[in-house]
């Protein structure tokens, strides 16, 4: 392959940068070239080795639930992009079923709101939801803090992370943020292709899928994060069993009825099932929904008012492109896995 010299320099610099980021003394938030400014202000919660390690312990610890059976990782598994694979609706303690599909966790520093309805305005505050939801971990924040304060192991970890062994709600949330902020995915084949790394070409089929993607999907699933962080009604027929009105339950505006957060498509190959209620098992089911399943309503997204027409071959190409968003470095990074002592 013949690469212009400037690109080689960028690639080398980029690799060097990543090495510095991970071999250095403290973890940092990596802002890949061409990405926008993160929404999360790490200056207010600087990542530290001890802080991230504490957050990782908490993420994998079922102590956060009322009967110590459910951890964050119960519904957010690394191998599937931190989504809840094979479950349409995620389940919590006593086998209780929640009302939505647990989304994948990645590149959260760029997210401007959290939960499918965007009811949470800051990454720090998001864990309060699963911890206190009766269908998920069914615990109180006060009791989590009490249990952690009673644990010599955690007293030590909090002391290492914050210079004070007293556990508070603020410290629990800040350390969880620190860990999930490190869950960054930017080394998919797509990324290597965009960075013009040697040997990182996409196939003709994938390139055609990329062209189709930019034509029909990119307005909402905007590169490079593959989401515009907005809310949209994507024409899903309402599940009359769930009667989930989405964003409107937060804003109470009829104009937000049936709108849900636009999720990222990174690692989408592994974060099945799809949609807020996990109704689609396969990527092709999702594509078929956009071509043939759109149900019209007052709040249907403008982009979907005109039918999307794709041949079967084009659909296959589009799915092939979506698979290039799979980041194996991320899915198998040992720094993100269950912390063995």
């Amino acid at each position: 392959m013949d690469f212009p010299k400037i690109n080689r320099t960028v690639v080398v610099a980029g690799i060097f940068f990543v090495i510095i980021a991970f071999k250095g003394t403290e973890p940092i938030l990596v802002v890949p070239a061409g990405w926008p400014k993160p929404a999360y202000d790490v200056a207010k919660n600087p990542l530290t080795t001890a802080g991230v390690a504490l957050g990782r312990q908490l993420f994998y610890d079922p102590l956060l639930s009322s009967d110590t059976t459910i951890s964050c990782a119960s519904c957010h598994l690394q191998a599937t992009g931190f989504a809840h694979v094979d479950h349409q609706l995620s389940h919590g303690i006593f086998g209780r079923i929640g009302k939505r599909n647990a989304p994948g966790l990645m590149n959260l520093a760029w997210s401007t709101s959290f939960m499918w309805d965007g009811g949470v305005n800051h990454l720090d505050m998001q864990p309060i939801n699963p911890i206190t939801s009766p269908d998920e971990m069914n615990e109180t924040m006060g009791n989590v803090v009490k249990k952690l304060n009673n644990s010599p192991k955690y007293r030590k970890l909090f002391n290492q992370a914050f210079g004070d062994s007293l556990v508070t709600g603020q410290k629990v949330l800040l350390s969880l943020s620190q860990f999930v902020l490190t869950l960054q995915s930017y080394n998919a084949r797509y990324d290597r292709y965009v960075r013009k790394e040697p040997g990182a070409d996409l196939t003709i089929q994938e390139l055609n899928g990329h062209r189709i993607f930019r034509l029909h999907c990119n307005t909402c699933h905007t590169e490079p994060l593959f989401t515009n962080h907005g809310f949209a009604n994507n024409g899903l027929p309402v599940d009359t069993g769930l009667m989930d009105i989405g964003r409107m339950s937060i804003t109470q505006k009829p104009s937000d009825s049936l709108k849900f957060k636009v999720p990222t498509l990174r690692n989408i190959q592994f974060t099945f099932p799809y949609m807020h209620d996990g109704r689609f098992k396969k990527l092709l089911d999702v594509v078929n929904h956009y071509t043939n399943g759109i149900q019209s309503s007052n709040t249907l997204d403008r982009q979907l008012q005109q039918p999307i027409v794709l041949t079967h071959e084009e659909k296959i190409d589009l799915v092939a492109f979506l698979r290039t968003l799979t980041d194996r470095d991320f899915l198998f990074d040992p720094r993100f896995s269950f912390p063995r002592e």
Partner: protein, 239 residues
């Protein structure tokens, strides 16, 4: 040895109780007097009567006072930094707090927010009185509960005759933070001394403005929550 320890103890105690003030500065001790119909509030006791002749009891009453300022002749002379105070009817020590670093001089007004401003509500995990473990934070629709009033009344046709008012919401048009300015008389701050200031909140008027048979559960940011926040703000007076 024992003398030395005693001396250290005295010094530590002294430092602990009189924080070092810079020259020209004093402090104000703000006491929040929680009342119902002029009487000191007793939680859980069925003694209170609203204007509608309903008997009711208050079981929980907690609210934030934030952004405390002192004014003279219409000019803000002092703004407390990191000014967040959670007042809880159950905890008498939360009802009195000292505001340090107030420049010496005379003041004719106090300003403060009842509740927390919108910036506080979008700033992530905070500590101290803003720690989300304190039960004054909403998980599913993020934001602080600015005021929580819970209790029971025979007027409520609800389970256990309970009423619950969780007043919060920072987004327009239903913001629930209320800025108050109350005139004060004879507030003179003297160097190295603390000036007492007593503020009363009397829930009688709050319950006079609502019918508990129809309004007894407010748990989300809404127009009703904003109206109740207006009512709650009117319960504050300086004695």
């Amino acid at each position: 040895m024992r003398c030395l320890l005693s001396a250290i103890l005295v010094v530590v105690t002294f430092c602990g109780f009189t924080p070092q003030q810079k020259p020209g500065l004093g402090s104000v001790t703000l006491a929040i007097d929680l009342r119902f119909s002029g009487e000191p509030l007793v939680l859980g006791r069925y003694l209170c009567h609203s204007a509608h002749q309903d008997s009711l009891s208050i079981d929980v009453w907690r609210f934030y006072i934030s952004a405390v300022e002192f004014k003279n002749n219409g000019v803000v002379r002092f703004t407390e930094s990191n000014s967040y105070h959670l007042v809880d009817a159950e905890l008498s020590n939360s009802q009195t707090f000292v505001i340090h670093g107030v420049p010496i001089g005379d003041y004719d007004a106090i300003c403060f927010n009842i509740g927390t401003d919108s910036l506080t509500n979008v700033s992530g995990a905070m500590g101290g009185d803003l720690d989300p473990t304190l039960g004054m934070y909403w998980a599913w629709n993020t934001g602080y509960i600015n005021c929580k009033i819970e209790g029971r009344s025979n007027a409520c046709k609800t389970l256990h005759h309970a009423f619950e008012f969780h007043l919060g919401g920072y987004m327009p048009p239903n913001q629930t933070v209320r800025k108050l300015q109350l005139p004060v008389e004879h507030l003179r701050v003297v160097e190295d001394s603390t000036a007492p200031l007593r503020i009363t909140s009397d829930l009688f008027s709050f319950f006079s403005h609502i019918r508990l048979d129809t309004t007894n559960k407010v748990m989300i940011p809404s127009r009703v929550a904003a109206q109740l926040a207006d009512n709650f703000a009117k319960t504050f007076t300086v004695q």
